[in-house]
Amino acid sequence: MAFISSGYNPEKPMENRITDIGPRKYDEFYPPVIAKNKGKWLYHEYLQPGVLVHVAESGDELYTVRCGGARLMTTTHIREICEIADKHCGGYFRFTTRNNIEFLLDSKAKVKPLLDDLAGRKFKGGSFKFPVGGTGAGVSNIVHTQGWIHCHTPATDASGPVKAVMDELFADFQQHRMPAHVRVSLACCLNMCGAVHCSDIAILGYHRKPPMLDHEYLDKMCEIPLAIAACPTAAIKPAKVEVKGEKLNSVAVNNERCMYCGNCYTMCPSMPLADTEGDGIVIMAGGKVSNRISAPKFSKVVVAFIPNEAPRWPQTAKVIKGMIEAYAKDAQKYERLGDWAERIGWERFFEKCELDFTHHLIDDFRDPAYYTWRQTTQFKF
């Protein structure tokens, strides 16, 4: 493999350098029908799950075909998308904020051929490459983070559980039978790279063991004061330890105060947390982002822990499926999952979703915990 230069000269990094040009301008990529009608759309409708039409003041119509997919995708896959776009819609497409692919068509006649084409495309293993859906009152794609594919702090994988859960929810990706949008998200650690904290259902990777201390290397590899300062619960103190007869500067962790956030590990690689049995998944529910009817709200912890059951995380998938079915059965039209839980009361939520209420679900983090306690005689037996 020979090194191919881009033209960059490491000796003179500033030579010819172009910086601060930002992204490409949005309108370079607008299909003509959008360029023409931007800001002048009148209304939209769903032709079927996954297929939208937007009608402009001019009478122009824009057809959108939305396909699900793993956001982790290879150039092979991207090239296939490009090929489809070239074939059906002049090369124009986009991605949604939930990592779905949208093909943008300027006439209704182009919809069916595209749908047929998409339906036929499958991976070797058998899964669909471009399942159409993800619109309206259904379950859209799971937004997620890196997991074991790229990050150093995850307590679970991302792409794996997402695939497993989406297989379980697949029918509802292609249907409009939910009372409202159902938005599922995954973050592989407490850093929560996403709006996981405000999702109808959130899958969260969580450690359950305090960091190990690699005393022998700690002082060499880490800035001890930074590690200490990183801890939100002040669980870390400087400590002198003896390893192999040598006195070393290191730290001590008060396990009782640790809530396994991994903040110390982010600062100091000699404090790893990952553990086969310790790590796993927390399920949260009832959050939302839109301001529709009710204000946005945070998701609540509804299952304190499910072990990492690779490769298919069956308990995680089952719990989520169970919640969604209970919701679909019981909620009112337009009612988001969290609004439903609040209307029926969380005591009923646990009953209807057949979930256990454990002490872990009671807030005990700092003062505001108190606001989550029941301070009325209004409750249901």
Binding site: Y43, M73, T76, K124, G125, S127, M178, V196, Y334
Partner: protein
């Protein structure tokens, strides 16, 4: 033949949902075959080794990535996340596996031409694996080696007129909803404001000068399709000041069943005949709608623009004409002190290019304050919590507005400034003691 056995991952190939494992495998195969004869600049088996490493993680339930080292491109403080594997002997193809964040175009609109060019660069110089897109919004190039970083950057900038996105204590790559490009609800041009601010603040985006990361997100209306209210240090959310426009004939068409409610979003189930009273008027959070005979009336002064009625009857109801946006600040993920939702700091501001007022009276004063007062790794929301909403009001130089709070304080622990209290704080105890013996 695959380089590593992946019996666990293989189980993720079945089932209907697109399998990333199958996709990675096709990529591994393609690289191995290399029909096009590409001179791969990083190990040809990078994808095989990623699969192998991931299989190990699946077996052990633990990640095998170490902390990122400080790698990047010259002069930028962000855009690259260094990553090294903790079993480089077993998986040399991913021993170095850095990601690059490529600033995505507004609304995530693409042409095949552009994206193929990106693929060409990435096949040559990286793993060919991407995230489309990262959670913040970037195009993520997933996995390359240190020497390739500058090469990729050079090609992006020179051949594609394309820059990197943000990481580190910078402005992060701003992101927007599709907005006016396709959406009838959009109250301002999210793509234009996003693009304008991204370019205006390129320096802040590339060179860390902030206490911590800072995110802009742009939602065209309160539906919040880019979730700005939950995950942007500054969220720009479209709204309007005047009246919802009503087409009474279309209202009747919804009532009569000629038009389907919510554009058909609920088509998968029989919810019964559309009932405007129950489904719209009864769910309006402010109760500001009534049917007056055949006329739908909205008391717009009481409407909080929650979008519900418009969402249900888009052909009958339309956003008002006096449009602009609300600015909320301080949303963030839970670490350290629990998640924060954005707080309304500017109820309404116009959103017309060149957006001078937004920049000069909101963004810049807030940044100045945060850069002055923010501690290392303190997000704006945390500073707001620490110094209080009063301080934000002071920084913005506006009058306190009940719109900024959900409710007034319930504790009466009011702090007074000395000059607000007649006579000040200093008093003569002996004078007092004349009237109040010990």
């Amino acid at each position: 033949m695959a380089k590593h056995k992946t019996p666990l991952l293989d189980q993720l190939e079945s089932g209907p949902w697109p399998s990333f494992v199958s996709d990675l495998k096709q990529q591994a195969e393609k690289r191995a075959k290399n029909v096009e004869g590409i001179e791969f600049q990083i190990p040809v088996d990078v994808v095989d080794d990623l699969l192998g490493l991931l299989e190990l993680s699946f077996k052990q339930g633990r990640t095998h990535w170490k902390h990122g080292g400080i790698v990047g491109v010259f002069g930028y403080g962000g855009g690259v996340i260094g990553r090294y594997c903790d079993q480089p002997q077993m998986f040399p193809g991913v021993a170095h596996f850095h990601t690059m964040r490529v600033a995505q175009p507004g609304g995530k609109f693409y042409t095949s031409e552009y994206l193929r060019q990106l693929c060409d660069i990435w096949d040559l110089r990286g793993s060919g694996i991407t995230n489309m897109h990262g959670s913040t919004g970037d195009i993520i190039f997933l996995g390359t080696t240190t020497p390739q970083l500058e090469e990729i950057f050079f090609e992006l900038t020179h051949n594609m007129n394309q820059d990197l996105g943000g990481s580190g204590s910078n402005l992060r790559t701003p992101a927007d909803c599709i907005g006016q490009a396709r959406c009838e609800y959009a109250c301002y041009d999210t793509q234009d404001l996003c693009y304008d601010l991204t370019n205006e603040y390129q320096d802040e985006l590339h060179r860390p000068a902030f206490p911590y990361k800072f995110k802009f997100k742009f939602d065209g209306c309160p539906n919040c399709c880019v979730a700005s209210i939950a995950r942007a240090d500054m969220s720009f959310i479209g709204t309007w000041k005047d009246d919802i426009k009503i087409d009474q004939k279309a209202v009747q068409a919804y009532i009569g069943g000629e038009l389907v409610p919510n554009g058909g979003a609920h088509s998968g189930r029989d919810w019964g005949k559309f009932d405007i009273q129950k489904e719209v008027i009864g769910l309006c959070p402010t109760g500001c709608m009534v049917m007056d005979g055949k006329t739908l009336k909205i008391n717009n002064r009481e409407c909080t623009r929650c979008m519900h009625c418009i969402n249900v009857m888009p052909r009958a109801l339309r956003i008002g004409n006096e449009r602009g946006l609300s600015i909320l600040a301080g949303a963030k993920a839970p670490i350290l002190d629990g998640a924060q939702m954005g707080t309304l700091i500017v109820p309404f501001i116009e959103a017309e290019a060149p957006y001078t007022k937004i920049k000069e009276t909101v963004i810049e004063p807030i940044w100045d304050w945060w850069m002055e007062e923010g501690k290392n790794r303190e997000r704006l929301g945390e500073l707001m919590k620490r110094q209080g909403l009063q301080k934000v009001i002071e920084v913005l130089g506006v009058d306190p507005d009940p719109r900024m709070v959900q409710e007034p304080r319930s504790n009466p622990y009011i702090f007074w400034k000395e000059d607000e209290v007649p006579g000040g704080f200093e008093r003569d105890i002996n004078e007092f003691r004349k009237h109040h013996l010990r």
